[in-house]
Amino acid sequence: MSKQLQFKSVSKMPEIAVSMGLMEWNRTGAWRTQRPFYEDKTPPCSAACPVGNDIVSFIQKIAQKDFEGAWTILKEENPFPGICGRVCFHPCESKCNRGSFDEPIAIHALERFVADFIAAQHKKIEQRVEKGRERIAIVGSGPAGLSCAYHLAKLHYPVTVFESFSQPGGMLRLGIPSYRLPRDVLDREILNIEALGVEIRRGCTLGENLKLDDLKEYQALFIAIGAGRSRSLQIPGEKGKGIRNGLDLLKKINVRKRVNLGEKIAIIGGGNTAIDVARSVIRLGKKATLLYRRSREEMPAFEEEILEALEEGVKMRYLVNPIHIHQKDGLKRLECLRMELGEKDESGRRRPVPIPDSNFFIEVENIIIAAGEEIEFSSLPRGIERKEGIVLTRRDGSTGIKGVFAGGDLASNQRTVAHAIGSGKKAAMAIDCHFKGGNSEEAIRQVLIGEGPSLTIFRYLHPDERPMDSHIVTFEELNTDYFEPSKRQRESKSSVKERKKGLEEVTSTLGETAALEEAGRCFSCGTCNGCENCYVFCPDASILKEGDVLSRRVNYDFCKGCGICFTECPRGAITLEEEAR
């Protein structure tokens, strides 16, 4: 403390009551009872992303107009941004905190924008040459297999992928119609993986021309052959003429093979395959009626696809259960029962219960059965365990057999592209741990996003970069005073008339202006984006900058711990903690 001032006359006094000396001696930080510090927390979008994308970071890059930076971040976790931006069911958006404010961020549209923007730049993908000693075989070149191959290649392993079809992609190519996923997008993203040195051997079917013995020379095996067998309805007449299974039909249409179909077609099922079949059939100029035994509410297909199918003229008949297929003069007479919803079953959906004597007939020329897919176990290694119709794996994707891992639809009932990509990535990490003698379960625990199950391989590779607390930021923790309501940017869609003409893509990529606008809407939950609210509000000038940039450091010599920075941070990126006494 300096001595008390004593002015002898008014003329010697300052004009205002200001300290005569500088106040640096007064370390007000000593008064502090609570300490603010910068700590990024988990945004709900990333925690909900089965792929484990660092969504906030890539959107921040878009907002800064650094599209290449956004691409780099996306590619850390996902070899398929162009694919996911189109076909993912984007659970990230359902969890987006902005959804509680006005409308969620169109994350899928931004991911797609980045992928297409970079593709349009004709960027050369870097080639990897250095290779490790252990070789890995991957069976199946669907999203799981290729994701695993991509991450292993980035970890410098030589990888060989075996694909039974003449072209790689698995369900991406055979199951997803090109009006949702154009083939050039699929091809370019697969080419990027091959450019890393991944070898894809076409026409190798496990159990046929590819034997398990052939894979002995590989030190690890990742099996991701998917669920390719259509589930049967177990009703009489099912094997008759003109009755086909949905997946086979889709495959034919998707690889542009000729299909012979009548005019009126009934599709049985309520999942994504059923919808894809119905929409494809409509594009072939046919009439499609979809029969589903529960109601619209319980339909497992993605909502957006159901809406688009309805737009395109697919008829939906709910609470209808086929029980018998009769043949009559080349027509199929489908005998059905009307259903009503009963109590909830183990899936949480209301169980359909037949209404007695409600039998009625539907006459069509073809019936397509799309009642779900099953695993074909016969070709799998002996000794592989199964449970509830899928291959049983441990948390790290390993099976009971040493060095054999499994993923994708084969090992999961969550059969989405995103889940498959996530499982491939997880297996890549586990295989790396397997070779390095590490504890893969523990390694996975370290890289979970939030509480999991999503995980980040970026953190596995760079444990000290972009640290993030596992706490998932809630809407209530945001300071929404700093956000203005704004409209979600929507991708445009071609007219129904246009759509029915062929298999052209329905939605188009956001323009740059719309993408920037949409990126600007992101709350950046839990992640400091340098908005400088803390800097502006700190009454003690204790938020430090480095040059013009927020340093994310607090000057504790003077910080009184008032907590204004913590309160005014719009996105919960500052933590306030009681000081230890």
Binding site: L5, Q6, F7, V10, M13, P14, E15, I16, A17, V18, S19, L22, M23, E24, N26, A541
Partner: protein, 384 residues
């Protein structure tokens, strides 16, 4: 360039031309369109000024205290209850010697609820240490803002500019709007005496014990005493540049008049007509417009009233228990003088009732007819 604009728009033009850096406001009728105009200009990017939305007038002034301490030229506008709510921070602004300029649109305080012109809001802030300037027309409003920053930044005291609700705020008149290039040389940027610098941190508005507080108040009084000289210099320079000047007061009418009528605000415009008419009738009448209320222009008034027999004051305000506030101020300043003609204190037009030419004529006639006022308060236009 001449434009037909309302008083509120004239305020906005004055603020733009003064290159104000920080505006903070909470909207209140009838000043609302001032901040509307300004915020729209800022939102459109045409005005490079920081606009702070705040949750109250108290905060509006508090925010300007911060901004002005930081070295910014600052502005706010308010009215009536808004000004009353600012009261504590008005003291702070003057105590910290900050050259903030505030426009108050004169309006009554409720209840009963009333949104019309009345001086009781600004005169309630008489003792807050603010310079107060009252305007007669929209041109004067604009010009006074430009002058106010010069005065405020010279003597380091805040200025309140006052205009009548609706009569000026919402009424359009032709106003000469000078160009930026004309105003810039007249009004250089503000440089604070004690600039804030995070590299050299100081403590502002610290405690002053009885040992020193007294002297700080003495300094404010001395600053107020500088105002007449500074304001005259600024007004003279303004007149030289723009061809218009206002003075602290303005005397009009007969040279050596028996009765002098004192008014402030727009009532003066009506009075000019009445005085002219009565002079033509041969009556010995003149008028005085009081523009500056704080510091009270005693010296200027003594000069102007020399030889007058009687003084009539029309107050559009009431300090209940005493009477009109301009009347009281005038009586108090005359007390120490040898020559102290009787002061006739009229109160009229409270809560926005029109002060018509007939009422003004009635006041002058009463003053001419009486040797001394029969009552302390002479009610003009009251429904008895």
């Amino acid at each position: 360039m001449k434009r037909v604009i309302t008083g509120n728009q004239a305020v906005a033009y004055g603020v733009i031309l003064s290159r104000v850096e920080v505006i903070s406001a909470y909207p209140i009728t009838p000043q609302t369109t001032i901040v509307e105009e300004l915020s729209e200009l800022i939102a459109s990017g045409r005005l490079n000024t920081r606009f702070l939305k705040v949750e109250s007038e108290h905060s509006a002034m508090a925010a300007l205290v911060g901004a002005s301490t930081g070295g910014a030229r600052t502005f706010t506008a308010t009215s009536s209850h808004g000004l009353a709510y600012m009261h504590e921070m008005l003291h702070w602004a003057s105590g910290a010697r900050l050259p903030i300029v505030l426009v108050n649109v004169n309006r009554a305080l409720g209840p009963p609820w009333n949104i019309w012109s009345d001086q009781s809001d600004s005169l309630s802030q008489r003792d807050t240490g603010w310079i107060q300037l009252y305007c007669e027309n929209n041109q004067e409003v604009l010009d006074t803002i430009l002058q106010a920053y010069r005065i405020a930044e010279t003597v380091r005291l805040p200025v309140m500019i006052v205009l009548d609700a609706f009569v000026l705020s919402h009424t359009s008149e032709p106003v000469e709007v000078p160009g930026m290039e004309e105003v810039d040389p007249f009004l250089p940027p503000y440089c604070p005496d004690y600039p804030m610098d995070t590299q050299e941190p100081r403590s502002y508005s610290v405690i002053a014990t009885p040992e020193h507080f007294f002297e700080f108040r003495y300094k404010i009084q001395r600053a107020m005493e500088e105002v007449p000289g500074v304001a005259k210099k600024v007004d003279d320079e303004f007149r030289a540049r723009f061809g218009r000047g206002y003075g602290a007061i303005e005397r009009y009418g007969k040279e050596e008049a028996e009765v002098l009528l004192m008014t402030s605000g727009t009532v003066t415009s009506t009075s000019r007509i009445v005085v002219k008419k009565l002079m033509e009738k041969g009556l010995s009448v003149a008028g005085i417009k009081i523009k500056r209320f704080r510091p009270f222009p005693s010296e200027e008034i003594f000069e102007a009233i020399k030889g007058a027999k009687k003084l009539a004051v029309i107050d559009r305000n009431l300090s209940a228990g005493v009477g009109g506030i301009f009347t009281q101020e005038l009586r108090a300043s005359l007390y120490s003088r040898e020559e102290r003609p009787p002061v006739f204190g009229f109160i009229s037009g409270l809560g926005g009732r029109d002060i018509t030419p007939e009422l003004i004529e009635e006041a002058v006639q009463y003053t001419l007819d009486h040797h001394r006022p029969e009552e302390e308060i002479l009610w003009l236009g009251l429904k008895r």
